[in-house]
Amino acid sequence: MNLNLQWTWFHRLGSPRWFYQKTQRWLPWLCLIMLSLLVVGLVWGLAFAPPDAKQGNSFRIIYLHVPASVVALAGYYLMAISGAVGLIWRIKLSYMLMRSAAPIGAALTFIALVTGAIWGKPTWGAYWVWDARITSMLILLFLYLGVMALRHAYSSNEAADKASAILGLVGMVNVPIIYKSVDWWQTLHQPATIKFTGAPSMHPDMFMPLVVMIVGFYTFYAVTLILFTRIEILRREYRASWVKQLVENNSAEK
């Protein structure tokens, strides 16, 4: 084997292993932080925050809706960038991150859409309106689904990774364009009949739990991403000696 192959060998196996072992230690702490943030945020938001002057208690779905929306958006960039990193530096680990990020992002987007729709019924009297932000969220869902579906078109992991990374990148160029254009479209066609209650105008008593929930969702995202990636690592690196070792140790414990 020449040097070139050894280098890819290092890339292939070195970093996933490092990631796997490091995250092993981080995970418990992250889980702890996540749980406490989510519990505090939920209890605070659902039980202690004052009801909204106009919407009463129905507004409390905000504590799911807003964090899910915010993290779903950020997740797309994380996915696309890790795909790009994989494409440029041929780092396997970042492909694995990309692959794991897609279903999580799609799920969060879906939660945002569903909670929004549920919220829409009492506030607007309809499950669905063609508001700019809602529309762009729907498009985001399709972008996520696209990245997920494209995988199945390829039989080899490598080709699928590269293809998904390209799609993610093309999408990343487009996401800002989509957001801008949808905004623009909405103002062109329709007077802003529906206004989101802007965050700053919120009462601090409602706002603080929201912040806690958002941070909580970010840690939730981190935890699930790490878990998904670890599974992905095991699935792909099953031939590596350290994975075999791991499996042996685990079965020995039982």
Binding site: M1, N2, L5, R239
Partner: protein, 210 residues
């Protein structure tokens, strides 16, 4: 030091589904030589060609073209290569002549095209759309490229498929004259050649885990 061989392959390996497809290949090809790649159905001959023309990445090993590493002379290499595969890139909706013109070097004159078509026996079909042709005639359209090409390294994946005996003989003659002019050929075929002297290399299956 300039090496004399056109192609030098060392320990070329290809991995599919966690196993090597064939035993790693090491071989050299010199000007004037024809190499017959043998192997049963599914041995990996087509895959091997696709690695040679840089469509698939090998999992290991190296390929040198005229002494240079594969990656360092991509342009020189690919402009000196002619590849005709199982699927012969003949467009059914184009006429025979259009197809050949399209697949030949840009400076090919009309006379050259006509004489190439004559030599493969398609001069009366020049304006017929290719989907009307018989299987062997379609193959002949693709092989007419051998008359117009200026590449010195030919990769032919089963050139004789669907050809009748006279066609096979004609292609063998053409291969021989190419070799005589210092060209080199790598080809696969399930039939043995009659006229051309060739060296053969067998792709052996290798189910060894990587």
């Amino acid at each position: 030091m300039a090496s004399t061989n056109i192609l030098k392959i060392e320990k070329l390996a290809f991995e599919r589904n966690d196993a090597l497809l064939f035993e790693p290949v090491s071989l050299e090809l010199n000007p004037g030589e024809a190499l017959h790649i043998e192997g049963e159905n599914g041995a990996g001959k087509t895959t091997f060609f696709q690695i040679l023309i840089n469509l698939l990445e090998p999992s290991g090993g190296s390929i040198h073209f005229r002494g240079q590493k594969f990656g360092d002379c991509r342009y020189e290499y690919l402009s000196d290569v002619l590849f005709i595969g199982h699927q012969s890139a003949v467009k059914g909706d184009l006429s025979v002549e259009e197809n050949l013109r399209w697949m030949s070097p840009a400076d090919t004159s009309s006379e050259e095209i006509t004489s190439a078509l004559r030599s493969v026996g398609l001069e009366h079909h020049a304006n017929m759309p290719c989907f009307r042709l018989s299987a062997g005639q379609q193959r002949r359209v693709a092989l007419a490229r051998l008359m117009t090409t200026s590449a010195s390294l030919w990769y032919l994946d089963e050139p004789f498929a669907a050809l009748d005996k006279q066609g096979v003989e004609f292609i063998e003659d053409r291969m021989q004259s190419h070799l005589d002019q210092g060209g080199a050929i790598v080809f696969s075929s399930h039939q043995d050649l009659v006229k051309t002297t060739t060296r053969s290399y067998r792709l052996n299956p290798c189910r060894e885990l990587v």
